[in-house]
């Protein structure tokens, strides 16, 4: 029966089977809470009747997800906002920091890629700054900027600049000499060459760098928001942990994954648009 199906269909069926089996195992692995009536006297006296915190079964997570997603934008005070609002804050911070980084990284990457001198001059700084965990900048950023919102954006800026910078430089430096010669024999000026030959030639590498950067930015925003607090999906996770609401924690973990996947998909589309075959 399976033989007649395409690879995609077979893969989809297998995915669904894995999901269902996984959820069933998870559901079965959670011990049921005993009802208060079944407790012995001793247990009641020692507080056994109080609800124990435990990992919730998937059925509870699904119910929670349904509740949250059916009303994602409610705002009932600083500690109780809908998941849509929290994710919206996170995306806003990620995109602000990310676009600021792109604004710096892509022109600078062009310069470094086109000039040996610039490459050698910038390289030591890049090598030292790149391995620093973006969160290590947080205290300094908070002190200098004096604003938690802007500090979070700064942390995103710092973490997304490197892949874009290095990939742009790498892509620009790797543009085939022949194509540059075509520009030269057609008497194109420096700016015209950059936009009509080097940019399209390096675009696949640059967009790959942008795709890596957005992935890293989304990883870092969760941690950054746990630190700065207030709003955002990272803050939401941490807040629900403090509330010991593990159902919400698991739900928000899933949402982080889904949003990350969507951000990546956008860049996947962009990557296909600029790709070319030699």
């Amino acid at each position: 029966m399976l033989d007649n199906l395409s690879v995609n269909k077979r893969a989809a069926i297998l995915s669904i089977v894995m999901l269902v089996v996984g959820l069933l195992i998870w559901e079965a692995a959670i011990p049921a809470q005993k009802a208060a009536g079944e407790l012995t006297e001793y247990e009641r006296l020692t507080g056994g009747g109080a609800q124990k915190a435990g990992v919730p079964p998937p059925s509870q997570v699904i119910v929670k997800a349904w509740q949250e997603l059916s009303n994602p934008f409610y705002d009932a005070g600083p500690n109780d906002k809908g998941i849509g609002i929290q994710i919206g804050y996170s995306i806003y911070r990620v995109l602000s920091g990310y676009f600021l980084a792109a604004l710096v990284a892509i022109p600078l990457g062009f310069l470094i890629g086109m000039s040996q001198t610039a490459y050698k001059a910038f390289n030591p700084f890049i090598q030292v700054l790149r391995p620093i965990s973006p969160l290590a900048w947080m205290p300094l950023a908070l002190f200098i900027i004096q604003d938690s919102e802007a500090s979070a954006i700064f942390v995103i800026f710092v973490c997304s600049i490197w892949p874009m910078l290095l990939n742009t430089a790498f892509g620009v430096a790797g543009v085939r000499e022949d194509w540059v010669n075509v520009a030269r024999t057609h008497e194109l000026g420096a700016l015209k060459t950059a936009f009509t030959v080097i940019l399209p030639a390096a675009a696949p590498t640059i967009v790959t760098g942008m795709r890596i950067s957005i992935g890293i930015a989304w990883l870092v925003i969760v941690a950054a928001e746990m630190l700065v607090g207030g709003t955002g999906i990272g803050y939401y996770v941490w807040n629900e942990w403090n509330n010991l609401d593990l159902t919400s924690v698991i739900f928000s973990i899933l949402m982080i994954g889904v949003v990350g996947m969507m951000l990546d998909a956008v860049f996947g589309v962009l990557q296909r648009a600029v790709a070319y075959a030699e």
């Binding site: 010669n181 075509v182 024999t185 030699e278």
Partner: protein, 302 residues
């Protein structure tokens, strides 16, 4: 003697040899090309043909010497000198049509988009590319088609001098034959001056008015300038019938097979090394040659 349209004067190219000394690829090479002439240059690898080509294109600087076009020294690349590269050098993210309009737009910035496109289509049609094929990207074209696009791009710009760097080197023999004839067709309609590098003797005889022969490097020089005394229009199948064909061919084969080695490495005393003009025409009463005598006819197996 009036100056030719293109004059290469005492061109010398030296590279550091990696051991502190210098390696002289060629020295005091001088020759001229007349307007509307089709000149091929033949020589073994390493004699500096490509370097001469790059200097003419303005992509490289000679160690010493000048290139003059219309009496003015040239420096740097220019739209007046169009280049067809061996590896086509089409921009892979643009369609065939856009690759040609890319060149035309650079050459004629004031033209309207419609005029540019019509001009591009006109030249693509001249090399046999019509219909939907012009919308394909280079990766979707065969090697022969890519080189046709590249040739169309160069001719569409009407450069004063067209440089062809082994344009058919990467093509199979059958495709090469067809494109050679297309090149002749598109060239014969113009007064285009062409300078072409090739490794293929038959190709050179078919296409050229004159063939420059280079000795082996280092200290390579342009030793002879052989006139092709076969009337145009020529076609691949007919030129072999011409009495001069094998006489010329044998001369070239003999030069490349033997004399290019014997003449190699001789540092010259004469500062200005103009190539010796050789004219082989067996149909004339007794061969009229200036300089060396034509070699006797013999069978060639190359």
């Amino acid at each position: 003697m009036s100056k030719p349209f293109l004059s290469i004067e005492r061109l010398t190219q030296q590279y550091p040899d990696g051991q502190g000394g210098t390696l002289t690829v060629f020295e005091n090479a001088s020759f001229g090309i007349e307007k509307g002439e089709f000149v091929c240059i033949l020589g073994h690898s390493g004699c500096g043909k490509s370097t001469i080509m790059n200097i003419l294109a303005g992509l490289a600087e000679p160690t010493s010497g000048v290139v003059k076009m219309d009496g003015f020294a040239v420096s740097g690349p220019s739209l007046d000198r169009g280049v067809v590269f061996q590896n086509y050098s089409l921009l892979p993210w643009l369609s065939a049509l856009k690759n040609v309009t890319f060149g035309i737009k650079a050459r004629y910035p004031s033209w309207s988009a419609d005029k540019v496109e019509a001009h591009a289509r006109d030249f693509l049609a001249k090399v046999g590319l019509e219909g939907d094929v012009v919308y394909r990207k280079p990766s979707q074209l065969s090697g022969g088609m890519r080189q046709r696009v590249s040739i169309a791009r160069a001719f569409a710009n009407h450069p004063k001098l067209l440089l062809l760097d082994e344009p058919f080197g990467a093509l199979d023999a059958l495709t090469r034959g067809t494109i050679q004839e297309e090149l002749l067709k598109i060239w014969s309609g113009t007064e285009q001056t062409v300078f072409m590098i090739t490794h293929d003797i038959d190709e050179a005889i078919l296409l050229a008015d004159r063939i420059l022969l280079m000795t082996n490097g280092p200290f390579a020089r342009v030793a002879e300038s052989v006139e092709i005394t076969i009337p145009r229009p020529r076609s691949r199948t007919e030129i072999v019938e011409h009495p001069n064909y094998y006489a010329i061919r044998n001369h070239l084969v003999q030069f490349l097979g033997q004399r290019s080695k014997e003449l190699a490495g001789q540092q010259s005393d004469v500062p200005d090394q103009r190539p010796e003009t050789v004219r082989i025409d067996v149909s004339e009463t007794e061969t009229a040659t200036e300089g060396s005598a034509p070699p006797p006819l013999r069978a060639v197996n190359t």
